[in-house]
């Protein structure tokens, strides 16, 4: 079998997420490529969580909602996922919590009772069943559990083996999965972007917990001593952004991260970064808004918010990765950008990119080490007017006096209200904006996938959904994904102006479609939108695309 999808569902606190990530690891060890979506609610106990892991011997950019194997750890999960089974799929339910189930009932409740963590251990059942049906031996399962569930390993092994025995007794179906060529590591978008920033020389990560950005902070906290990137968790997002700005002055490479509400709090500092020319990289990981919205789900409704951050005119760079792999390279590139131009930048992601995981091929040596234009000579002026608008940097401690300022200031950084200097400094910052645009023309700012067929515009995590939909629907099309969104690469858009363009995005008002219209007068023929907090499902999206192309 080539493509195979596994869903495991249960209550929060039953180890569902771990049951998903262990499965992803099982597949990747077979050399298969995997994509894992964790669907969880903003609560700690109860409710319904599930993970979907789709895998294939070839590239795979999305989960599928029709599964070959569904393992339900409780009765509610069974009800929810009853319709998520393929025709010839296998449905496993918890016989202790489900009456009249279709499929195979396993005594998950009964068997888990005797263990000290009787709820949390249930997730192990997922991996035990999966191991059995893909033809692994009990010994192989034991090794897998040892690795994945090392805390309380004895109990976990014992429970896994009991489930395996029960499966052997009751299940008469097996799946033969093809092995793939390479075993690649599995990372989430947030892990991948954190690694990318580290590869570009990050010194500090400052963050205040907010889903779906929190796991970046967790990553740096966990790897503090290994990576030597200092993690800081201050009192609020205002503290975060202002600390970050302060830290750039002595030369630290700093990244901060948050979601919409936190970004709103950082906005005052964003403008300060623009004025003081502080190179801070902000990660904005979107969730459905407005306000608290739906914290653990996905949407792309912060596009305009990201593009319009900060009061006043100042240069800013906004880019959004279209895959988990790209989030690694692009974050490194963005850290470089903000240092090169001494201005703030935003890496825009969504929950679907930040918190989904997939097999990725990362090469840290391809990431540039962030550097800046440094001052040499005498009579240092922080805001020296230069041809490209970028003033050389000098870092304290220094014999020279170095003054950065939130007020409009003269070249030395002393506050001014002089009309000529105000004009000159505005021109300096605008020149910098032009320099950025000029330089962006030399690098890749738009990804295009596919050679022929209708043009589909998309960006961010939706790019993954579209690419998978084209594959599964066997649709020939050209996918155009602007990676940079500010400055918007209008210079790359000429060839699409006269095409019948389809836009796919996750916002209710079609923010991306209106951006295309505004920036390059591309008026899409069809805008496929989704705004229920869930990412597109490739088979469903393929149907919609076929409809639109017709």
């Amino acid at each position: 079998m080539d493509r195979f999808t596994y869903i495991v569902g249960g209550k929060a606190g039953e180890g569902v997420k771990k049951a998903g990530s262990s499965a992803a690891n099982l597949f990747r060890k077979m050399g298969r490529k995997t994509f894992e979506l964790d669907d969880y609610q903003s609560l700690i106990r109860g409710g319904h969580n599930f993970s979907v892991v789709s895998s294939s011997t070839g590239d795979i950019y999305s989960h599928y909602m029709k599964a070959d194997l569904v393992v339900n750890l409780d009765g509610r999960s069974y009800k929810i996922h009853k319709d998520h089974l393929k025709e010839d799929g296998l449905m496993i339910y918890n016989s202790g919590d489900t009456e009249d189930g279709d499929g195979v009932g396993l005594p998950i409740d009964e068997l888990s009772k005797e263990y000290s963590k009787s709820d949390l251990i249930k997730g192990v059942a997922g991996i035990a069943v999966l191991s059995y049906v893909v033809g692994m031996s009990k010994d192989e399962l034991k090794k897998l559990v040892e690795k994945e569930y090392s805390r309380g390993v004895e109990e976990n092994i014992s429970f896994a083996e009991k489930i395996y025995d029960a499966a052997e007794e009751k299940i008469d179906k097996k799946f033969e999965l093809d092995e793939g060529e390479h075993s690649l590591p599995v990372f989430s978008g947030n892990q991948s972007l954190s690694l990318g920033a580290s590869a570009a020389g990050l010194d500090m990560y400052i963050g205040y917990p907010m889903t779906p950005a929190s796991s970046i902070l967790h990553f740096f906290a966990a790897n503090k001593d290994h990576l030597k990137v200092m993690p800081v968790h201050p009192e609020n997002e205002i503290g975060v952004a202002n600390m970050a700005i302060g830290a750039t002055m002595p030369g630290a490479r700093v990244m901060v991260g948050t979601s919409g509400g936190g970004m709103a709090l950082m906005e005052e500092a964003m403008s300060l970064a623009g004025m003081s020319e502080s190179p801070v990289l902000f990660v904005l990981a979107s969730r459905p808004g407005p306000s608290t919205g739906v914290p653990t789900y996905t949407e792309q409704a912060d596009l305009r918010f990201a593009l319009n951050q900060g009061h006043g005119d100042f240069p800013m760079i906004v880019a959004s990765p279209g895959s988990i792999e790209e989030s690694f390279y692009l974050t490194g590139e963005m850290l470089n950008m903000v240092w090169k131009y001494q201005t703030p930048g935003i890496l825009l992601t969504e929950k679907h990119l930040s918190e989904s995981s997939m097999t990725v091929d990362l090469d840290p040596s391809k990431v540039e080490w962030a550097s800046s234009k440094e001052f040499e000579g005498e009579d240092y002026k922080r805001y020296e007017v230069t041809e490209d608008g970028v003033s050389p940097l000098k870092f304290p401690p220094s014999e020279d006096v170095i003054k950065w300022n939130s007020y409009e200031s003269d070249e030395k950084g002393i506050t001014t209200e002089d009309p000529e200097i105000i004009t000159e400094m505005h021109d300096k910052r605008r020149t910098k904006d032009e320099t950025i645009m000029y330089d962006l023309k030399e690098i890749n700012t738009v990804n295009e996938f596919g050679e022929d067929g209708p043009v589909i515009f998309t960006y961010g995590s939706t790019t993954m959904s579209v690419r998978e939909a084209l594959k599964v629907g066997d649709i020939e099309a050209r996918v155009v994904q602007p990676v940079y969104l500010r400055p918007f690469p209008i210079w790359e858009m000429d060839e699409y102006m006269d095409e019948d363009v389809i836009v796919v995005e996750q916002s209710s008002t079609g923010q991306f479609a209106t951006l295309l219209r505004e920036k390059c007068r591309i008026v899409p023929k069809t805008v496929i939108r989704k705004y229920d907090g869930r990412p597109f499902e490739p088979e469903e999206l393929a149907e919609k695309l076929k409809e639109a192309i017709k």
């Binding site: 030597k228 600390m243 700005i245 401690p397 020279d400 300022n405």
Partner: protein
């Protein structure tokens, strides 16, 4: 003697403003610190927004002129990035005890190794004299024409209960004393707050009140609790170091011996470490 510490920027404070006394005390303190081996180049300053903050333009020291209330966060960022630097923030009472209060409380809580000098003039001067967090009840300003109906907060009490490891109060009318306080605050390893009773001749002239009531205390209180009692005294206003204790500082607890900027690991080393994470334990 300290003229070289000026920048030549035009001074726009009102004649008689208590900020002049603070500026001169800071200049003298910088000289004194240099004599004690703290080099000027290792001092980094920041300021909020307000009359107080103009000190940034008047001091020929490196730093970042921040925004209203956020200089407390700014200087922590500077310190964490390069702990070799001594960082000083200048705030106002509106600034540090209002807009940026959360940063102040948490800087004290985590014992960030910073010095905050708060020009406490009991009003928002730059925005034309509105009531501030420390304005007395009945204070008349454009937003409280009939007098403030709120009680003021006591910033020293607040700082003491937030775990601050150095809490002092000074008065520009006692410049030599204020200079000593600033020197001690900067030398203190950990969070230091110097609340300065700053007369604002235009909107809140407190010279008479404080000339009569301030009293220099020679020794800090023995305990935090006794310091709190000093902080709430009303008949006399004790000035000096109210409380001081040695505690581990934040950045050293994160990295006992590592300066993120100065000891930055090489690119090769970093990439090797990333490769290790990518490969995992296989």
């Amino acid at each position: 003697m300290s003229e070289e510490l000026g920048t030549g920027a035009e001074n726009t404070w009102c004649l008689g403003c208590g900020d002049f006394g603070i500026l001169n005390s800071v200049k003298n303190a910088v000289k004194e610190l240099e004599e004690r081996g703290i080099e000027r180049k290792n001092l980094l300053i920041s300021a909020g927004i307000g009359c107080h903050a103009k000190i940034f333009d008047y001091l020929n020291l490196s730093g970042l002129y921040s925004i209203h209330g956020r200089e407390i966060a700014t200087i922590q960022g500077m310190k964490f990035a390069n702990p070799e630097l001594k960082v000083i923030g200048f705030g106002g009472d509106g600034d540090s005890y209002g807009e940026g209060l959360s940063h102040l409380i948490f800087a004290a809580k985590r014992n960030a190794d910073i010095t905050m000098i708060v020009h406490n003039n009991e009003n928002y001067a730059l925005t034309t004299g509105q009531m501030s967090p420390t304005s007395v009840e009945g204070f008349k300003g454009p937003s409280t024409p009939k007098g403030s109906i709120e009680e003021p907060i006591n910033p020293l009490l607040l700082m003491l209960s937030s775990g601050a490891s150095f809490v002092a109060r000074g008065y520009p009318g006692k410049m030599k004393h204020l200079t000593e306080l600033i020197v001690e605050a900067v030398e203190h390893e950990g969070f230091s707050l110097v609340d300065v009773l700053q007369p604002c001749v235009t909107f809140n002239d407190t010279y008479e009140r404080y000339n009569e009531s301030v009293e220099i205390i020679d020794e800090p209180a023995e305990t935090r609790f006794e310091a709190m009692e000093l902080a709430v005294e009303e008949d006399r206003v004790p000035i000096g170091v109210l409380f001081k204790e040695e505690k581990d500082v934040y950045h050293e607890k994160v990295y006992p011996e590592f300066n993120p900027v100065k000891d930055k690991i090489s690119k090769e080393d970093r990439l090797k470490r990333i490769e290790e994470l990518i490969k995992g334990d296989e």
